[in-house]
Amino acid sequence: MAPPAVSELPPQCDPVVTAPSVDRRACVRLLVGLLGAVSLARSSVVREHLLPAADLENWLRRYGPGRLGDSVVLGRLGASYLASHPEEREPGRLARLILRDSAAPVESGMIESIRQDWSRHDVTLVEGWVLSRTEARICAAMHLVGGRPV
């Protein structure tokens, strides 16, 4: 066997872990969309808009892009989620799943659902992102309302 070309220096220890295949700029673009959901879940002082739960669709149209982030990116995530959960495509059902029959205003209801998701580890992968189930459904709702501000 011919000796392979090996450096005369000892090899280094820890093998290098190569960077993940995620494109960083794409991540940052997507992050812009996710930021709203992050801040929503973490927000301790929330400006309530005092709309009834049934008005989730209205809320998303009026406040979604401002409060949640880039509606196009969120809508794309929502479409991905719905593709694997077609049974949730009906807006009324989606609203009930998001707000869980809470009597609280929409934003408080969403935050509470997201908190419950984290505590139960009720999460889902959407395009590889770890989202709470409610976050994914909010994205789905954004997709269904078209993501356009009124």
Binding site: M1, P3, P4, V6, E8, L9, P10, P11, Q12, C13, D14, P15, V17, T18, A19, P20, S21, V22, R24, C27, V28, L30, L31, V32, L34, L35, V38, A41, R42, W118, S119, H121, V123, L125, E127, G128, W129, V130, L131, S132
Partner: protein, 537 residues
């Protein structure tokens, strides 16, 4: 005394009480235990005092036919052995790692963690730590770190203690630390460039009579000893037993065809990317390699909680964050300006850069201070010091014992005429399932705590992606001469004696029946100390 076989008289005979084959972490640790005693110790080492490719390292070449194993690079064949490229990361195995877990076939050690605890304490001293082992809580206090409220039912903080280091020796090197002791001890004789050639045995093959060693220039010697210990690392230990069994028509712990099987490592790979809209400065002060008031480094990561491993029937797994420097941070811009000025050039767009630096002045000041305090240049790209908005979550996995993942003898021979090794490293779906669960839990916890959002790697999203596309070896070669009370289940017994042999022992990570997730060297040293105590009796 340290001698070179190449310069010895051909055909000499050495008589010893104990012959240690291999001078790495295990061999030197055992020899050290006998320094100054009445026992005559002979240590044979295939290499010299430095890395030499032609003279020694090339003997480690072999075939890799499964997941890639870089046989020539992962191990080092000279005084100090593979500690010569060790990073000094120490952690004991967990209690659960020792137990028989019904969801992991072939798991379970014949001893428990409590039996190793006193040896872990001694191992810390052997590994150069000047202070006793602190609890995790005390260590965190020493580091002045408060960790976020991770859900410890799922994930727990895990601490790796780094051996003392200096600029010249970035980790505790056994040869550097104990070379002088070996040189000065009258009862220890170290033979360098002394490669294993053959054992001679009693007629019934239950007792080793002598070992023949040979240098690459053809000088041979015979060592007659009462006891022999193979301490050549997780692959070579198996190879020597296989070679001896082949040459002697059986025996050497291989009557049940177990030598070389259950070959494991700690597969390592990226699980996901954590991204944040803000600089991760706070997280970088928590999950990172940090220095305590005693000057010692500790890495803080996360590990799967034992109760979760049990409940969800998973392997052990840990993860650390590797931060990616943010090119738009004030510190990165300051470094850019520094490099330009040092090269004699006025930085382009200086006004804008100064403005952006000013907007990030806190991190710039902190980064400059850290570099000055550590004696580094402004150029230094440390993991801790570079402000980041993203980090790779890197996992170290326990691998499930698998009899088909194995070391065998290859048909071709090395320069000394001995058959080379063939490594068939196999990974399974339990490793993927464990990693996917860890990544999902960590991603959710990081989101809940506001640390960042996690995008999980493709190999953890689909079983159609080969695990070998993401997982690499860590040079932690484990399991090939596993410990078991039953000769039908292992190669050595609880005292590291080869089943069926009266005076042959094995030391090193090859004896671990399971691997846990912690780096093996610390446990290698603890087990070597335990074996030394046994040999004294």
């Amino acid at each position: 005394v340290i001698e070179d076989l190449r310069q010895s008289a051909p055909g000499s005979t050495i008589t010893a009480d104990i012959c240690l084959i291999g001078a790495g972490a295990a061999g030197i640790t055992i020899a050290r235990e006998f320094a100054g005693s009445a026992q005559r110790i002979c240590v044979v080492e295939g290499g010299g005092t430095q890395y030499e490719y032609q003279e020694s390292q090339q003997l480690y070449a072999g075939d890799s036919v499964g997941a890639p194993v870089v046989l020539e690079a992962g191990r080092l064949r000279f005084l100090g052995g593979t500690t010569n490229h060790w990073t000094g990361r120490c952690a004991p195995l967990d209690e659960l790692d020792f137990l028989q877990r019904d969801w992991i076939p072939h798991s379970g050690w014949p001893l428990d963690r409590a039996e190793l605890d006193p040896y872990y304490l001694r191992a810390r001293q052997v590994a150069g730590f000047p202070t006793p082992w602190l609890s995790d809580r005390e260590t965190l206090a020493n580091l002045n770190v408060t960790l976020p409220a991770i859900n410890e039912q799922w994930l727990q903080p895990f601490l790796w203690h780094f051996t003392p280091h200096s600029k010249d020796a970035p980790a505790w090197k056994w040869a550097t630390a104990y070379g002088p002791l070996l040189q000065e001890s009258n009862n220890i004789r170290v033979l360098l460039h002394a490669n294993f050639a053959a054992f001679t045995t009693s007629q019934d093959r239950t007792r080793i009579r002598s070992l023949t060693v040979r240098s690459m220039n053809g000088v041979s010697a015979t060592i007659n000893a009462t006891k022999f210990v193979i301490c050549c690392g997780g692959i070579e230990n198996a190879r020597l037993l296989l070679l001896a069994a082949e040459a002697n028509g059986g025996g050497f712990g291989n009557d049940n065809d177990l030598v070389g099987r259950f070959f494991m490592q700690h597969p390592r790979g990226p699980a996901g990317l954590i991204v944040s809209s803000e600089l991760m400065s706070r997280t970088q002060q928590q999950f990172n390699i940090l220095f305590g008031r005693d000057g010692l480094a500790v890495e803080i990561g996360l590990a799967l909680a034992p109760q979760l491993q049990q409940r969800e029937r998973l392997l052990n797994c840990s993860g650390v964050l590797r931060y990616q420097g943010d090119p738009d941070s004030g510190l990165a811009i300051a470094q850019d300006i520094w490099r330009s000025l040092e090269g004699g050039n006025w930085p382009p767009e200086m006004g804008e850069k100064v403005g952006r630096m000013a907007g990030d002045i806190g991190d710039v000041a902190r980064g400059v201070k850290q570099r000055l305090a550590a004696g580094h240049s402004m150029d230094f790209e440390g993991s801790k010091g570079v402000p980041s908005r993203s980090a790779i979550l890197v996992l170290d996995l326990e691998q499930a014992p698998n009899p088909d993942s194995r070391i065998t003898l290859a048909p071709d021979r090395d320069a000394l005429g001995l058959r080379r090794v063939r490594a068939d490293w196999q990974l399974g779906e339990l490793e993927r399932r464990t990693a996917a669960r860890f990544a999902s839990l960590a991603g959710a916890e990081f989101a809940r705590l506001g640390i960042g959002r996690c995008r999980i790697e493709p190999w953890l999203q689909s079983d159609q992606v080969a695990v070998t596309s993401a997982l690499t070896e860590t040079y932690h070669y484990i399991g090939t001469t596993r410990m078991a009370d039953d000769p039908g289940a292992g190669v050595i017994d609880r005292n590291c004696a080869v089943h069926g042999m009266q005076n042959l022992f094995v030391a090193g990570s090859s004896v671990f029946p399971t691997a846990g997730q912690a780096n093996p060297t610390f446990t290698i040293v603890a087990l070597a100390l335990r074996l030394a105590d046994h040999l004294k009796t």
